[in-house]
């Protein structure tokens, strides 16, 4: 074996340690880069060569490959959990907002507006001829209608905001699908040429995770390195290789059913490469999109419907008393309705002349029978909630039940979202434990590769001195 081979061994070692130092440096540089997967230089001994006396002698070291520290199983579990987290977080946020809109724990509340209206009815019963009491009743009726209206408007605005969010999210998800397809193409091309595509893979995984949280996806990598994305709920293939098989798009729904503001809502569907639109609602039951759609199409209409039940109950009950047979206003005329409208959104006071309030059931001055009957509605089982035409709940009782319902739904969604987020955090920690950068570890590696580099340099020095000694003999 020639002494010059020592130079080759040292040279290879220097190069290998340089690469290892560069990889370590890259890891350190990306310590705070979101989604970065630490890279590991895999060193391997060069195949030995035979010496003149038949002994196999090593030829030094080389960097066989640079790998990423990835656990595919964790990545798949994390992707699945992100879909759950997206759905539950979005729904919890919407139900929380709904809870704030219909919050009876802060003033002004619907309950306090109802109480003030019936306080005014009680006041009218104590002084049925008093114009002040009549004006007060009208004022509190207007305030009550306004409270119903403002809540309805807030609910409709929330539904519209969600719909806007659905459209924006679908567009964003569609863009992300395109990017994943492009990255698939780039990764396959790079790795086919023997290049390291770790950073591209990190970018793709970040996008896949974002998409998973947005839509709820399954992802599987094929032998070429491309990832195939499918909708978790229906298995519809979205991205295969470098192609977007099914894009995401939205279109306005038919006029019926419209949103609570009367404008069209949007349907989410798949687009074909030819530009067609495929309606498949079941595919969008997962991820943030699924949570938004459930909030928009289920929770919010239900809350509005329940508010309508209360508003209609108040309207019909009050009007029924004021227009009951024998009900007489201050001037002896038959009673007229106080409220108009068809629900909470358009509940309005249609009676403007306080003298027209029918507080009496006779023309006798001081008769307060009808005003007392009106005041009785405060606690009467006036609300028919099971459509059997018989009242079964008081207004306050219904409001309390509704408050409990909304609170329970929001609390349940919040708890589920927290549990889902906790699982995701756990999986992110597991992923980070495998793929994240630990500076102490990298600095130790840095020292290790530095020392190896120094030692390799020393090999050159010693070999050089040996040659010097040999030359001096000559």
């Amino acid at each position: 074996m020639a002494i010059s081979s020592s130079f080759d061994i040292a040279r290879r070692a220097l190069l290998a340690q340089e690469v290892a130092l560069a990889v370590t440096g890259n890891n350190i540089a990306n310590v705070n880069t979101p989604g970065y997967t630490r890279q590991i230089p895999e060193l391997a001994a060069e195949p030995p060569t035979g010496s003149s006396d038949g002994v196999l002698i090593g030829r030094g070291v080389r960097v066989r490959q640079i790998t990423q520290a990835v656990d595919p199983l964790i990545a798949r579990r994390l992707l699945a959990s992100l879909g759950d987290r997206g759905r539950h977080s979005a729904l919890a946020e919407q139900l929380g907002a709904l809870g704030e809109t219909l919050n009876e724990q802060r003033q002004p509340s619907l309950g306090s507006a109802l109480s003030k209206f019936f306080d005014a009815a009680d006041g009218l019963a104590r002084n049925p001829g008093g114009l002040g009491e009549r004006e007060t009743l009208l004022g509190t009726a207007r305030a009550l209608a306004s409270e119903f209206g403002s809540r309805s408007q807030a609910i409709a605005a929330q539904q519209r905001a969600i719909d806007d969010g659905v459209v924006a999210l679908a567009a964003e998800a569609n863009g992300n699908l395109e990017k994943v397809a492009q990255l698939n193409h780039a990764i396959v091309a790079a790795e086919a040429n023997g290049q390291v595509a770790g950073d591209l893979r990190d970018q793709r995984q970040l996008l896949v995770n974002v998409l998973g949280e947005q839509l709820g996806l399954h992802g599987a990598e094929d032998a070429s390195g491309a990832i195939r994305l499918t909708a978790a709920a229906t298995g519809t293939v979205l991205v295969d290789g470098g192609q977007v098989v099914r894009g995401i798009s939205t279109r306005p729904l038919p006029p019926t059913p419209a949103g609570l503001d009367g404008l069209a809502l949007h349907e989410v569907g798949f687009t074909t490469p030819a530009g067609g639109f495929i309606s498949l609602p079941a595919a969008f039951d997962a991820g943030e999109l699924g949570g938004l759609l459930e909030g928009r199409d289920v929770a919010i209409p239900a809350a509005q419907a329940n508010l309508d039940v209360l508003a209609n109950g108040v309207r019909t009950s009050v009007n029924s008393v004021l227009t009951s047979p024998g009900a007489i206003d201050l001037d002896g005329n038959p009673g007229v309705p106080l409220f108009g409208g068809t629900g909470a959104a358009d509940l309005a006071v249609v009676l403007t002349d306080p003298r027209r309030i029918a507080a009496a059931r006779s023309v006798q001055p001081g008769d307060n029978q009808n005003a007392t009957a009106l005041a009785d509605l405060r606690t009467a089982l006036a609300l028919d909630t099971n459509a059997d035409t018989v009242g079964d709940t008081s207004f306050a009782g219904y409001l309390a039940e509704e408050q409990g319902r909304i609170g329970s739904a929001a609390a349940l969604a919040d708890d589920t979202a927290k549990a889902s987020a906790l699982l995701t955090t756990q999986l992110e920690q597991e992923r980070s434990a495998v793929s994240g950068v630990n500076l102490n570890e990298e600095l130790t590696n840095l020292l290790r590769y530095q020392r190896a580099f120094q030692a390799a340099a020393r090999i050159i020095d010693v070999t050089n001195q040996t040659l010097d000694d040999l030359f001096q003999v000559l």
Partner: protein, 303 residues
């Protein structure tokens, strides 16, 4: 799966996330201390939120029942005072009738007595027209209404006590509870109370004016006085009923308010303790994050 290694970003992410949670908790606790209320959203305690809505409605209704009881008590007090005056009028009339029944008085004295009886008739009419804040107490509490009893004319021979009352035929009740049966009548039609008195006084005046049989009028006066006395007793009973109801309502309000406070209001001692706990946790977390930097090789090796 156990965690074998921890990435730096993960540690900082944990510190940021946990400190955010603690700061939210601190804000929530500070709001509770400032407002004294722990239940601010239905999702905080759904069942409690529903109960608070019911307590609020119940307290609002109770406040109206208390108000109604107070109003009714005021009206009945005014009635009682008026009825006492009416009673005094009739007692005086009975005294006059008894004196005149002895038959030893002169014509002038009979004329003077007749004149006094005429005054008593005016007085009883005024009692029947008693007002409370512009409302006729013995005419269904009608507001700004004409006097229910017509004043006796100068010529009492044309006076008809049976037709003197033109007020409301409708009594007034106040609502002292949630059910339709929880009502207390606070007015009585003036004609049922005063018409017998007016008739008896008119009969006495006519008898004195015509030198008739005065003793025959005593029975009517007595019956009229007893009618007024009976109404006074009734008013007293209803006043007691309203006062008792107001006491009950006050007790219910105290109970409801205490129950609502247990559900809705913050326990300040516990909240302040929780606040201190959260502040300590945040300080410890921040201190730990400082220590975390010290355990880095970057610092130890002074790279």
């Amino acid at each position: 799966m156990g965690i074998a290694r921890i990435a730096d970003a993960q540690q900082y992410s944990f510190i940021i996330g946990r400190s955010g949670e603690l700061q939210l908790e601190l804000a929530r606790l500070r709001e509770q201390i400032a407002s004294g209320v722990k239940l601010t959203r239905p999702q905080d305690d759904p069942a409690g939120a529903a109960r608070v809505v019911r307590f609020d409605a119940s307290l609002a209704a109770l406040a109206q029942h208390r108000e109604a009881s107070g109003f009714g008590t005021d009206v009945l007090s005014a009635e009682d005072a008026a009825l006492k005056d009416a009673h005094d009028v009739l007692v005086r009339a009975e005294e006059i009738a008894t004196q005149q029944a002895s038959g030893t008085l002169s014509a002038d004295e009979r004329a003077a007595a007749a004149e006094e009886v005429r005054g008593l008739l005016d007085a009883l009419t005024q009692v029947g027209n008693t007002e409370l804040s512009g409302r006729r107490v013995f005419a269904g509490l009608a507001l700004d209404a004409a006097a229910p009893f017509a004043d006796p004319p100068d010529d009492l021979n044309t006076y008809n006590p049976a037709a003197a009352y033109t007020g409301a035929q409708q009594g007034c009740e106040v609502k002292t509870g949630s059910t339709a049966t929880e009502r207390v009548r606070i007015t009585t039609r003036g004609d049922t109370i005063f018409q017998p008195g007016l008739q008896a006084l008119h009969d006495l005046w006519r008898t004195l004016d015509t030198n008739g049989d005065v003793p025959a009028t005593l029975a009517g006066l007595k019956a009229a006085r007893e009618t007024v006395s009976a109404e006074r007793a009734s008013v007293g009973a209803r006043q007691a009923q309203l006062v008792g109801r107001a006491d009950v309502v006050t007790g219910l309000e105290v109970t409801d308010e205490a129950a609502r406070a247990r559900v809705r209001d913050a326990d300040l001692v516990a909240t302040v303790a929780s606040l201190a706990q959260a502040e300590n946790a945040l300080q410890a977390l921040l201190a730990a994050s400082g220590r975390f930097a010290q355990t880095s090789l970057v610092q130890l090796l002074q790279i």
